[in-house]
Subunit: 441 residues, 2 copies
């Protein structure tokens, strides 16, 4: 232990408050500044209401001893329930009982994290906005709710301030920093689906349209929180669906039984705000043992793999381990070296999974492939694990999971080719034998 440090975290969201817990448990003094108001007092504006906890997130919550407290607030999702014009069909997430996701309200989770951090002595300053960072000291300048400016000195500043991170912008200034930001040409609106027998099953519900995709997480009270994804422009887009008639016609055509489940669908659609979806990649993530980025500030991804929060929680766990011996410069370098390549892979997987959810869940070929994947996993549990299973139900680093999935695919192709060649050879042998018998006759 080369020392206990003064740590300043920008952002009291999911990654910032979990990082505060990890580091205060290690004996560091942690203070958190957050632009928004206290999540325990109000609902977060403009952010998704519930989230899917998978193995990586669960593992982190277990490490900090929060899992038992949160467990009763989660709702299991055992697979995908796909709603189409032909009816509903259920597709389990895995072959084993524990291979399920757990839906939880963002506010419940965030409040529990802040409570727990406070119990370790972490100080939270809400309504404080980051305006500058001297990364060489480091000193973070913030303005309080009264508009007064404060210079906060620390040993380490953690930027956990989201996809549009102010800490990241300051970290990049005048540096040879790599930065990639892309917005999807689709946006989203959130809709509440009332409790109903038809959506009782513990599942992630999907309505894959030709233009549009609806994904819904179950809540504890039987309601579901649905996210309606649509293009911003063009036919069937947010730009077009501006009247009750057009919204109704589009939802009736595209989203099967959804309109029947949400009596006020049109009213909700027209009154709720439209959000956008961003992917962010950047490098470096850290500066000289003084500043580091975690969560969305380091790697914002599209939501289609359900891994944004889980990856952010995994960041906190890895960061805490890297800082275990108190060496800040070495620890931050190790953190970036261990994480960045994997979250870059996650960004790509999250983009691709949009197509899987929208088109794949209606494609017989894709569904057959998915069933074969699970069957192979059941037959050869140690040699075959579907990519989705590795991403959602294990803590195998994302890049390693993708590499293994590719190896499996190659082996399968080789195996199938061998079978094909063997069958062909056997057929040929039989044919030749039959011919020579004929000639002998």
């Amino acid at each position: 232990m080369t020392g206990r440090h003064e740590v300043l975290v920008a952002g009291a969201g999911l990654s910032g408050s979990l990082a505060a817990i990890y580091l205060s448990r290690q004996g560091h003094t942690v203070r958190v500044v957050e632009r928004r108001t206290d999540p325990r007092l109000s609902t977060a504006e403009g952010r998704s209401i519930n989230l899917g906890l998978s193995q990586r997130g669960i593992q982190a919550l277990r490490e900090v001893g929060l899992l038992d407290e949160l467990w009763p607030k989660t709702t299991p999702m055992r697979g995908r329930m796909v709603h189409t014009a032909d009816g509903q069909s259920f597709h389990p997430y895995g072959t084993e009982d524990h291979q399920i996701l757990h839906s939880i309200l963002r506010d419940d989770l965030n409040s529990a994290l802040v409570d727990r951090a406070e119990s370790y002595g972490v100080r939270f300053d809400f309504g404080h906005r980051v305006v500058a960072l001297d990364r060489t000291l480091p000193v973070l300048t913030v303005t309080d709710p009264a508009g007064e400016s404060h210079e906060l000195k620390a040993d380490l500043v953690i930027g956990a301030d989201g996809a549009f991170s102010a800490v990241r912008a300051q970290l990049m200034r005048g540096e040879r920093a790599e930065f990639h930001q892309e917005f999807m040409d689709w946006g989203y609106k959130e809709i509440t689906i009332p409790a109903d027998d038809r959506t009782r099953l513990e599942a992630l519900h999907l309505w894959p349209g030709r233009t549009g995709l609806v994904v819904a997480h179950p809540n504890h009270d039987g309601t579901l929180t649905a996210t309606v994804f649509l293009p911003f422009d063009g036919p069937g887009s947010f730009a077009e669906l501006t009247t009750p008639e057009r919204v109704k016609a589009h939802c009736d055509t595209e989203f099967a039984d959804l309109p029947g489940l949400v009596p006020d669908l049109v009213a909700q659609f027209l009154s709720h705000p439209t959000g956008s979806l961003v992917t962010v990649r950047t490098a470096p993530w850290q500066h000289d043992g003084k500043v580091v980025l975690i969560g969305d500030a380091a790697h914002a991804v599209y939501p289609f793999y359900g891994q944004g929060m889980n990856a952010a929680f995994e960041d906190c766990s890895v960061l805490a381990r890297c800082l275990g011996d108190g060496d800040l410069p070495g620890g931050l370098r190790e953190f970036e070296a261990r994480r960045r390549a994997h979250t870059d892979v996650l960004a790509e997987l999250s983009k691709q999974n949009f197509l899987e959810l929208r088109d794949g869940m209606r494609s017989p070929l894709f569904l057959a492939r998915r069933k074969a994947d699970l069957l192979l996993h059941r037959l050869f549990p140690n040699r075959w694990t579907p990519l989705y299973t590795m991403v959602a139900h294990t803590t195998t680093p994302y890049g390693d999971a993708l590499a293994r999935a590719r190896r499996q695919d190659r082996a399968l192709v080789a195996g199938l080719s061998t079978v094909a060649v063997t069958v062909a050879a056997a057929a040929m042998t039989a044919l030749v034998a039959a011919r020579s018998r004929r000639q002998v006759r």
Copy 2:
């Protein structure tokens, strides 16, 4: 003509001052604000000293009637002179007399552009820094050299303020903007090579090292301006070459006859600043007929294809044509639609050409391919044009040039395969004929 407009250009560099000329010639009222001092009074700091004009840049200067005035200030470069331990070898740029590049001092070019713009009534305000932009009006807020703030209203704001454009940052705020910024892990230093008989030849001089690359443009007075490219870190990097002994040893090993040509090479190396190399891609380039980006602000590229300035000049030419009928919203949309895909291609080509200059010019295989390219062009001038020729010596849009080069390569592979198959078939026929003759005998 739907109208003559008030145009405000941010940046009096090469693209900004040329755009001012084009638009004032079209009858618009143009004012230019520039953070730096007047290029006619001082040397630009931290930017490359001389540049290679190729066909696109020449074409634009011809369009605004500046070519004749500038021509005497240029120095022709008829090909690449490669300096290695084995001596020098010359590789012409093309097969025709006009297929050459023209070296020019940045300051000479920029001063001529500002002079000419002023002669059309363009107002230049130097020492004025962009601090804000309301893109909906548009209103550009600038601070003058005394620190006083001014709000400048215009019909159109042109961001010609370089790779780290302040206008671009303002354009992107709160938009679903795409943005990619990457720095090369190599940087550069500029070195002056005194006039010498050994570098008299009109050429771009190259010293391709294993670690390091030196590129030199000739000047009018017989001197050359060399750019020494080296990695920032690792063996033979700027981080390592910090003592006279190390610099001398590295240059002696890597850069053939260069140390003999520059008596004060070590002193220049140690005293000159190190620059970095950035690639920037972004979208959109324009907002609602009110704001548009050109040049490096829209697409900064690595310098290895020598096309940065040429592409910026081509932007000005295309923008002027798109705005020809005075329709700002339609014209800006058309400009982005006509240019962006092509400058994206240029960014990729510019990255790849680093490898061509560093490794290719020492590779017998690469040099043979290059010679074959020029030979095919000489044999089939209408059907075969090397990619480099299209990029440097024509105004074929970059993307079209790349697509054509790929088609040519496919045709060549198909042609060679046909030849190979025909030869093989002829050989087989001859063999079979010979055998049957033997059997007959």
